[in-house]
């Protein structure tokens, strides 16, 4: 186990040094209790205590709009090239829920046929996690899915020990960085302090919905026809906020743009949402998910049922963003509770 120490008053120097090596992004306050991952050059602008950012860090792995191809049709036979524009980036201050979100996306895009746009981008991202001492707010459900403790998925991981951070080094890349910054090794007192923090969290984080997580797969397996879907379908306005802000939603659409010269253009992919009315429609006129209730049901099955079968893990990270972003106040915890109650 490799742990190092960074004194809090040295954080600014750490960020500045890191920013000299690569682009550094971190949570920044945007007012009204909103936060966003943005580029920083010093620790001054970083919100160390923040609730989940409006958009999760997935935007660094799968940008909202991304070019897949450039093409040229000026001479009969078309030509195209696939290129990637991405620089080395460090994301600082990633909560454990968002680390889990990135791990989910890694699984999806590593599956064959592989998505090299995602995978090449991923290689350029250096991830620095940050431990949460308590709940972000009442909408979080990280304990339900076991994401209130770190489960890997980072290069370095910071835990606040009062006047200092203890840093877990998880990768060779992380090791090289820590060594080049000459950070002191953690002492046994630091390790004891870390254990105390972790122990203390046990009393803070409790299953938020009162339903055993192990029972959820069965509840969902028998839950297709429950009333709760219609109840939330009645309220849903199909805006797609819940999927845009979700750290594990990755559905996309593709489109061509032709330049003004009418000879060259490019093909992009854009985040899409299964909540949109035409998401499952075909050109022949059939819509395979016409009802809002069915689209909402589909969204939650893609968090709590399908990925468990395929990847052996839930694709809900417990971050609570879908609840916070919902214009109709559809609440994930309430929905799960209602589904469980109906299934009794």
């Amino acid at each position: 186990m490799n742990y190092h120490i960074l004194k809090k008053d040295e954080l600014d120097g750490f960020i500045k040094k890191l920013a000299g090596k690569m682009k550094v992004c971190a949570p920044v306050a945007k007012g009204h209790n909103n936060f966003a991952f943005e580029e920083v050059t010093s620790a001054g602008g970083i919100a160390l205590s923040y609730i989940p950012t409006i958009l999760p860090p997935k935007k660094y792995f799968m940008p909202p709009r991304e070019k897949l191809l450039d093409f040229d049709i000026s001479e009969g036979k078309p030509k195209d090239t696939a290129s990637l524009e991405a620089g080395e980036t460090a994301i600082f201050g990633v909560h454990t829920c968002d680390l889990a979100g990135i791990q989910c996306l890694n699984m999806v895009f590593s599956e064959r046929p592989r998505d090299y746009n995602y995978l090449l981008r991923k290689e350029k991202v250096f991830i620095i996690g940050l431990e949460c001492g308590g709940y972000c707010d009442e909408h979080a459900s990280c304990a339900l899915v076991g994401n209130h403790y770190p489960n890997g998925g980072y290069d370095l991981f910071f835990t606040d020990l009062g006047d200092r951070f203890i840093i877990h080094v998880n990768t060779q890349k992380g090791e090289e960085l820590v060594e080049s910054f000459c950070l002191a090794k953690a002492a046994s007192a630091d390790m004891i302090a870390l254990d105390k923090v972790r122990e203390g969290k046990k009393a803070v984080f409790k299953n938020e919905i009162g339903v055993e997580p192990g029972k959820l797969p069965e509840i969902f397996a028998k839950g297709m026809e429950k009333k709760v879907w219609h109840d939330i379908g009645e309220r849903c306005v199909s805006c797609g906020n819940c999927t845009n802000v979700c750290p594990t939603c990755y559905c996309f659409d593709m489109a061509d743009t032709i330049n003004l010269d009418m000879k060259t253009g490019f093909r992009t992919r854009t985040w899409d949402s299964c909540q949109f009315e035409t998401f499952a429609a075909v050109a022949g006129g059939e819509n395979f998910r016409e009802e809002r209730a069915h689209r909402q049901r589909h969204r939650l099955y893609r968090k709590f049922k399908y990925p468990l079968d395929k990847f052996y893990r839930a694709f809900c990270t417990g971050c609570g963003r879908c609840t916070r972003a919902c214009m109709a106040k559809i609440n994930l915890k309430d929905t799960l509770k209602a589904l469980a109650a109906e299934s009794k």
């Binding site: 191809l69 696939a82 992919r269 395979f288």
Partner: protein, 278 residues
Amino acid sequence: MTEEIKNSNWKLRKGQIIAAKQMTASEKWFDIKLEDGDLDHEPGQFVQVELYGIGEAPISVCSSPTKRGSFELTVRAAGRLTKYMHGLGKGDWVGIRGPFGKPFPVKLMTGNDLLFVAGGLGIAPLRSLINYVMYNRREFGKTDILLGCKTPADMLFGDEIAGWQKRLDVNFSCTIDRSAPDWKGNVGLITSLIPGVSIIPEKTFAVVVGPPIMYKFVIAELLKKGLPERQIILSLERHMKCGMGKCGHCQIDHPKNYYCCKDGPTFTYEEVKEAKKL
């Protein structure tokens, strides 16, 4: 920093249209030759057709892989891309990704009797298999083809169908939904043809391709005949946008989390009977 993605799965194969023909008021046929060789598909697979600057759409391959040198598509002008594609003709270039999808289970069907049921444009993907079977005719048992169209004017591959009608090793029947003045054949839904076909259920595979609405009724008729659920093969329709099981559009509401583009489009009825919609 820009770098080339050499192994990008989004890169397109270049295909040139070497022949095209308007088949009906809404369907056009294209013969496409790829510059990098054969498509190398199997019956029942589809490709993504890219019209540069317009976009992409998934289209079933309607020719058999036994046809070398080029492959064929039958395109209904239904959406933005396909309407534009109807304006293309011989010499025009398109981008192709694929082939994608799980093909018809040809190996399992070998040695068995076959019952093909095609409704409307469903004949296009089914033709890739029918022509494959015709080419390897002695590998299969008794073969029946049932075709349903709205009107005689909507019938696709008329010349080829005339050939099937003449063949002694294939039984072909056709019906139209609405009668027409010069029509002398059956009138009625495709389901009306099924009771008249004699089959030995345990050694027959039925392959059904048609609009979503057709499946429920055709399957009910086939089950009535005693056909096992796993010997009823379907090809389902969804909007397969990426073809690689990622974009999410073609997922079927089914406990097994099927992506139509990767796990399908061909399924046995046994596999998909729990789906909310076929």
